[in-house]
């Protein structure tokens, strides 16, 4: 299982702040997780489409599409940051 977290605009658009997900065989990268979620359709497909302005982190470190994801990881999706 991996823990998925969603923040800010994505949390509202996807209607949840966190969930547990069983990692299917063959899904081993951040982009693999993104594609799995986007395949749910609706807001998931819209918000997590390639080319959309979202950021992601694996285990609380900024990640890119190729970043490995394995069982037990914490994966977060969120909009570009606007603090300060």
């Amino acid at each position: 299982m991996i823990t998925l977290l969603y923040f800010a605009r994505l949390r509202e658009a996807l209607g949840q702040s966190s969930e547990l997900l069983a990692l299917p065989n063959g899904v081993a990268t951040l982009d693999g997780v993104r594609a799995l979620l986007a395949a749910r359709g609706g807001a998931w497909a819209h918000e997590l489409a390639t080319g959309r302005a979202f950021r992601a982190a694996v285990n609380q470190a900024v990640a890119s599409g190729e970043t490995p994801v394995k069982d037990g990881d914490e994966v977060a999706f969120f909009p570009p940051v606007t603090g300060g």
Binding site: F7, A8, A53, A57, T82
Partner: protein
Amino acid sequence: MTVRVQESDFDISAEIAALRAGNPKIGAIASFIGVVRDLNEGDAVSTLTLEHYPGMTEKSIEDIITQARGRWQVMDALVIHRIGTLKPLDQIVLVVVSSGHRGDAFAACEFIMDYLKTRAPFWKKEQTSNGARWVDARASDDAAAQRWRQ
């Protein structure tokens, strides 16, 4: 270094006094305070609500301070960032850097703030005369962080 994410306000005098207490090697202290404006993109702002990613926020700011320490002579650094609902005139963020000399203190303070704006996971939602909206990231903030790479 000290990083705090908190709902409560901060007192810059008390924070600076604590940062420099008993250290006669400090010759310069630079500070920055970010404050809530009453206008954004032409609309009156009544409140601002800040959300963050607990854990990653603190780690990312600590990493930014560590990077600043690698580039300038920094004796100590403090970052306080508020979360929750704020209103115009409220303080949002404080950066304080102590150093032997002013050049390092000024540069490290600005670097920390520029990197915080583009890397620390905070998000602002503002309540305006036109309803509630998430604040969009600004290209000018990316450009400000980018110039430190040159």
